[in-house]
């Protein structure tokens, strides 16, 4: 297990994006440096007993600073700097995220990170190495879990491609951040305001169909229906598929057992904790039955 740090950290920026999304930057060098792609953080709003539990949030990005320092022009100057800023990309959906949106530079939050097993946990590394191309598949705010994997793949020289769906164009946040890391981007919206009209799993299915014979690895994060549809497509075409699961979390630390989902074939037992054994699971191990779906 990598080191995890639980500290009070300062907000450096909380930038509004389209569609009720925000990019929160925190000065958290220790958490930023320890995070691996696909890991998450637990965020605590301080001094509030109405929002008691911490909120799970994927680590979207880590960077040396939010504002380019004086040396920004000289590329080399930043290349060796360790990240100090940890960024979370979130969407307002309830009272916790609504309060997060009110955070201002200089405010503090509690931050426990990094947590969980990400996309490059040891048991998944082999899959990534074997693939000709990695397909990053996501819907809505699931995008937040995929930027660090895209970067890691680019650094390792593994080709990747992004399939990103939303209800409407305002949901498609952060696309430009992926441009330098992926070989191609396919967008979809349910209302047709941008890209393919419909679910993103439709162009994904076409892509898999057109490239039969190639070896893909799917990394998927998004709503449950999308996870299952992607897992089915991967299985039908014989590709490996890693899914980042969501569930309500009481602690994020592995002790409350509130986040367990039914998983098989992993040797840990029938229920596994999304916060500890996950959030990334091999899709083949997840039991996709109706009654086992976390209705969040």
């Amino acid at each position: 297990m990598t080191r995890m740090y639980d500290e009070i950290v300062a907000v450096t920026e909380n930038r509004p994006l389209t569609g009720g999304h925000f990019l929160l930057s925190l000065r958290a060098p220790r958490q930023a440096q320890a995070t691996r792609p696909g890991q998450f953080a637990m965020v605590r709003l301080l001094g509030r007993s109405d929002v008691l539990l911490r909120r799970p949030m994927s680590v979207y990005d880590v960077s040396p600073t939010t504002r380019p320092p004086r040396a920004a022009g000289k590329r080399g100057a930043n290349a060796h700097r360790q990240p100090e800023i940890l960024q979370l990309l979130y969407k307002i959906v309830g009272r916790g995220t609504r309060l997060m949106a009110e955070l201002r530079p200089g405010d503090s939050v509690g931050l426990a990170a990094p947590l969980g097993h990400g996309f490059f946990a040891e048991e998944y590394l082999e899959e990534a190495r074997r693939a000709d191309e990695v397909l990053l598949v996501t819907g809505g705010i699931g995008i937040a879990a995929l930027l660090l994997p895209a970067r890691e793949l680019a650094t390792a020289g593994i080709k990747s491609r992004l399939f990103f769906g939303g209800r409407t164009r305002a949901d498609l946040v952060g696309v430009q951040d992926f441009e330098s890391s992926v070989a191609g981007i396919t967008l979809a919206t349910e209302d047709g305001s941008k890209g393919h009209r419909g679910y993103v799993t439709e162009p994904l299915a076409n892509y898999l169909e057109r490239h039969r014979g190639r070896k893909f690895l799917l990394m998927v994060c998004g709503p449950w229906g999308m996870l299952r549809a992607s897992a089915e497509l991967a299985k039908r075409h014989g590709h490996a598929c890693l899914v980042s699961m969501e569930n309500r979390m009481g602690c994020g630390l592995g002790v409350c057992l509130g986040c367990s989902i039914r998983v098989e074939g992993t040797g840990h037992g029938a229920y596994e904790r999304v916060c500890t054994e996950g959030p990334v699971f091999n899709a083949e191990h997840v039991i996709w039955a109706r009654e086992e779906i976390p209705k969040i």
Binding site: D6, L52, R248, G250, C251, V255, L257, S260, I293, K295
Partner: protein
């Protein structure tokens, strides 16, 4: 032993007073009166990377049954105002694996280890205790009696004085260690259950477990938690838990350990003044893992400033003579 109050009061003001905050419960000495509550602290190891476990008075581990249990399907938890609902379904590794895999770590700590035990028949409880008796490094058992007895039509042990007495007496006979009994708060008169447990042999009483509650999604008109009903914990339950601890401490002679929504030293001191010899921290571990340690330090600082030892504070509530009856 602590110096008598009269003697301490003669120590000149201004000199550092070092309060005694250790406590003895059921023949076991605790370095301080702060323990972590069952189901909120795993098997201890999960928190080793976060806090110094040796600074805790004790750790009460997740409920253990004779056989492993899977638990309930999701969703198992739901956040409510200043609290949370949980229906985990008592997922646990079973007594044997606990002894083999989890106990060695706990044995290595200086802090006390209390094992929370549950079952669905009286024989289940006894069997779990018999397996645990062989494990070394356990200081006491804490019986969770907020479980339905499948032989008695699902009647919850802790809601019925007769069933409570039955399971406590049988467990006491089996136990080779002190037996604490954790009371369910979902009763009309907690003192009746407290007396039943005491008469049947309980060496200490811990209270409260969670309050049965529920929440509904009005869009889908479905319960928020798969089990339909779930246990409420957290700051929301503190006043009710405190009242129950107060009543129980006056009704029994065995030590009482207070639990329910404790998140600060001030909260803990309220329970201690009401009559609790020690306290347990539950839900607060989830959002502030350092809570128990802050409570220890806060109690110490408060005792120092008041020049009191912990034993002077336990049950020291001052009820004005004109006060109404305790429950009104």
């Amino acid at each position: 032993m602590a110096a008598p109050i009269a003697e301490r009061e003669r120590t000149p003001a201004g000199t550092e007073f070092n309060p005694q905050i250790g406590v003895e419960i059921s023949g076991i000495h605790f370095a301080n009166p702060v323990l972590t509550a069952s189901g909120t602290f795993g098997y201890g190891q999960e928190f080793a990377r976060l806090i110094d476990l040796n600074q805790l008075g004790g750790i009460v581990v997740k409920g253990i049954s004779a056989e492993p249990m899977e638990g309930n399907p999701p969703p198992r938890i739901y956040e409510t105002e200043a609290g949370m609902l949980n229906a985990i379904g008592l997922q646990n590794v079973g007594a044997r694996r606990f002894v083999e895999e989890k106990l060695p770590f706990l044995r290595g700590l200086r802090t006390r280890t209390i094992v929370n035990v549950f079952g669905y028949t009286t024989e289940d409880y006894v069997r779990a205790i018999e397996i645990l008796n062989d494990g070394s490094g356990i200081d006491a058992y804490e019986l969770n009696i907020s479980c339905p007895n499948t032989r008695a039509g699902g009647m919850v042990y802790g809601n019925d004085p007769r069933l409570t007495a039955e399971v406590v007496a049988a467990s006491k006979r089996a136990a080779r260690r002190p037996l604490w009994v954790k009371l369910s708060p979902n009763v009309t008169d907690i003192t009746e259950l407290a007396r039943a447990a005491e008469s049947a042999g309980a060496d200490a009483l811990t209270l409260v477990n969670t309050f049965v509650g529920m929440a509904i999604d009005i869009e889908t008109r479905t319960p928020r938690v798969s089990n339909v009903t779930a246990g409420l914990s957290g700051p929301a339950i503190k006043p009710v838990a405190l009242r129950m601890v107060y009543q129980t401490a006056r009704a029994v002679r065995v030590p009482v350990i207070g639990i329910g929504g404790i998140a600060s030293a001030e909260d803990a001191l309220e329970f201690i003044i009401a009559g609790a010899s020690a306290v347990q921290i539950g839900t607060a571990n989830f959002y502030a893992p350092d809570t128990a340690l802050r409570v220890v330090e806060g109690i110490r600082a408060w005792c120092r400033s008041k020049r009191l030892n912990l034993s002077d504070v336990v049950g020291s509530i001052k009820i004005p003579p004109s006060a109404a009856s305790p429950v009104s």
